[in-house]
């Protein structure tokens, strides 16, 4: 796919001598929502960390036509890729507003005041709690904060690492609604890694299945939702 926004080929990464990812190929087109589905230990978080430049990685990562595979995290952010980390990663001792301002850290010049207003508009709960410590928010609110913080960097691509983790089903539904809105209303592209196959595949334009560091299946969200093996492995449906 030559017109892809994010084009990854042969991605390898690991920790010390242990290779976790054995050469992944995947892509995200402009305005597309792509889900990488995987169980615990499949390599989902490693994939996200490799894309963000948090760990050293092999293979090629092209974003918007330029290689970001050798960049440090701050350069990846400036190139237009933000990450919502697993477990939300909010600065628990900092106020909600400081969390958002930290998200705009790599933006040069100007005050991010307009961005603050914009995200307070999207998430009124955050506006109400802007002076509270982020650690005092509920899990769902912290996840919204993590998304808003990542968006403060004005990215073109948003990486979400298991956003549904530890959230009640009703909150998870709300959350995926928000992620869908980011694409529909702002034209964002999203790459989401998830275990929650049901909701994430409904949202996804395309999806990949990751198993122990290899991509073993790919298709549109609907195709994978209809796939018997997927149903069995990720939805707990025995066919």
């Amino acid at each position: 796919m030559s017109d892809a926004l994010l084009d990854v080929t042969g991605l390898t990464a690991g920790y010390g001598p242990i290779e976790v990812l054995h050469g992944l190929d995947f892509s995200v087109a402009d305005g597309e929502i792509v889900v990488i589905l995987g169980a615990n230990g499949a390599g989902k978080t490693t994939t996200m960390r490799a894309l963000s430049g948090m760990i050293s990685r092999g293979g090629t990562i092209n974003f918007g036509g330029r290689s970001i595979g050798g960049m440090r995290p701050d350069a990846v952010l400036r190139a237009g890729v933000s990450q919502v980390p697993q477990g939300r990663g909010t600065f628990t001792d900092l106020s909600v507003e400081d969390n958002l301002l930290a998200g705009a850290y790599t933006l040069r010049g100007g005050t991010p005041g307009d961005d603050l207003d914009r995200w307070y508009g999207v998430f009124p709960r955050l506006a109400e709690r802007k002076d509270q410590k982020a650690g005092s928010l509920s899990g769902g609110e912290q996840q919204m904060l993590a998304i808003a913080r990542a968006m403060m960097n004005r990215p073109k691509l948003l990486l979400c690492d298991e956003p549904s983790l530890g959230l009640a089903p009703i909150i998870t539904q709300e959350l995926f609604q928000v992620l869908g809105d980011l694409r529909d209303e702002m034209g964002m592209s999203l790459l989401i890694v998830e275990q929650n196959a049901g909701l994430s595949l409904q949202l996804a334009d395309r999806a990949y299945v990751l198993e122990t560091g290899d991509i073993v299946a790919t298709g549109t969200g609907d195709e994978l939702l209809a796939d018997d093996t997927i149903k069995e492995a990720y939805l707990g449906v025995v066919s």
């Binding site: 963000s52 948090m54 440090r72 995290p73 701050d74 952010l77 400036r78 990450q83 980390p85 990663g89 909010t90 600065f91 628990t92 001792d93 900092l94 400081d98 301002l101 930290a102 998200g103 850290y105 790599t106 913080r149 960097n153």
Partner: protein, 296 residues
């Protein structure tokens, strides 16, 4: 009454030195989770730099400013050359290495400047008649100046931490290094800055203390111990706690030395040890610290 006021103000002025040193300890502890044993010695080294510069005719203010830059560089160097490489391999070994740095800086100071005591000029008016009288108590300008200096440093640090982007980054790194990395903060640079800042504050504390205490290689030994108690008392991760803790320890010292005859100056450190143990047993997080002071 006038003697009491005089003793309390002098206690607060001593306490201001402990506060400055405790602030330096807290700045490092918040970001790195280490107690910098070399903090006091870097200060002493800097005070000798001030001495050399003033003896060669530099104004005291400029000498102190220059020495603070030297302290910044030494402390930042310790972080980069000693702490960071060891921490990635064995975090528990860092404290031993810092004791090593303590000894190394102490010996280096003795090698360069010898072991004889010397005077250091005060930045504040410090002649025999430079005092103001409050309720009959003669308060020396030089001592009041130290308290004013503490207020200025606290205000500047507050501005830095709360009103600047770099300060936001420092607070973010103290809270969560992984997430700091993810929002594009270069964590290594921020840690270096924090250590450097602590080094500079340590030099300032030493340069404030030396004119009244006399400049020797062991200038900061006692103050460092008292500042450690102050930092634990106030809460190792709380800048406010460091300031309050330092002043409390200074006043406690003045009371013990001045009014508790059966203890007196000789028993100062044992009493401080008891305070330290009491804090650790009754309120491990300190007066203003957050409950979670262990590294996570």
């Amino acid at each position: 009454m006038s003697l009491f006021i005089e003793r309390m103000v002098n206690g607060l002025a001593d306490g201001a030195i402990y506060s400055l040193l405790a602030l330096a300890l807290v700045v490092i502890f918040r970001s790195t989770g280490q107690l910098n044993f070399a903090q006091g010695e870097i200060g002493t080294f800097g005070a000798f730099v001030v001495s050399t510069l003033t003896l060669s005719g530099w104004p005291v203010w400029i000498s102190i400013g220059t020495a603070m830059v030297v302290g910044f560089a030494i402390s930042a160097g310790v972080e980069r050359i000693v702490v960071r490489p060891i921490e990635t391999r064995n975090p528990g070994a860092v404290i031993v290495a810092l004791i090593g740095v303590f000894l190394a800086v102490n010996q280096l100071t003795a090698m360069i400047w010898g072991v004889d005591a010397r005077g250091l000029p005060s930045v504040f008016p410090d002649d025999a008649d430079d005092f103001v009288t409050v309720f009959g108590a003669p308060l020396r300008i030089a001592r009041l100046g130290i308290l004013a200096m503490l207020a200025v440093v606290v205000f500047l640090l507050w501005l830095l931490f709360n009103k600047t982007k770099i300060g936001l980054a420092m607070r973010a790194v103290a809270n969560n290094q992984e997430s700091s990395n993810l929002v594009g903060i270069r964590v290594g640079g921020i840690l270096l800055l924090g250590w450097g800042l602590a080094g500079a504050i340590g030099v300032l504390a030493a340069a404030m203390l030396a004119p009244s205490a006399g400049l020797t290689g062991t200038l900061m030994l006692g103050p460092f111990l008292l500042a450690s108690v102050a930092a634990v008392l106030g809460g190792l991760d709380s800048p406010l706690g460091a300031v309050v803790g330092g002043l409390l320890i200074g006043v406690t010292e003045a009371v013990i030395v001045g009014y508790v005859d059966f203890l007196g100056a000789d028993m100062l450190f044992p009493v401080m040890l008891v305070i330290l143990l009491a804090v650790l047993l009754l309120r491990p997080a300190g007066l203003f610290g957050s409950e979670r002071v262990e590294r996570v």
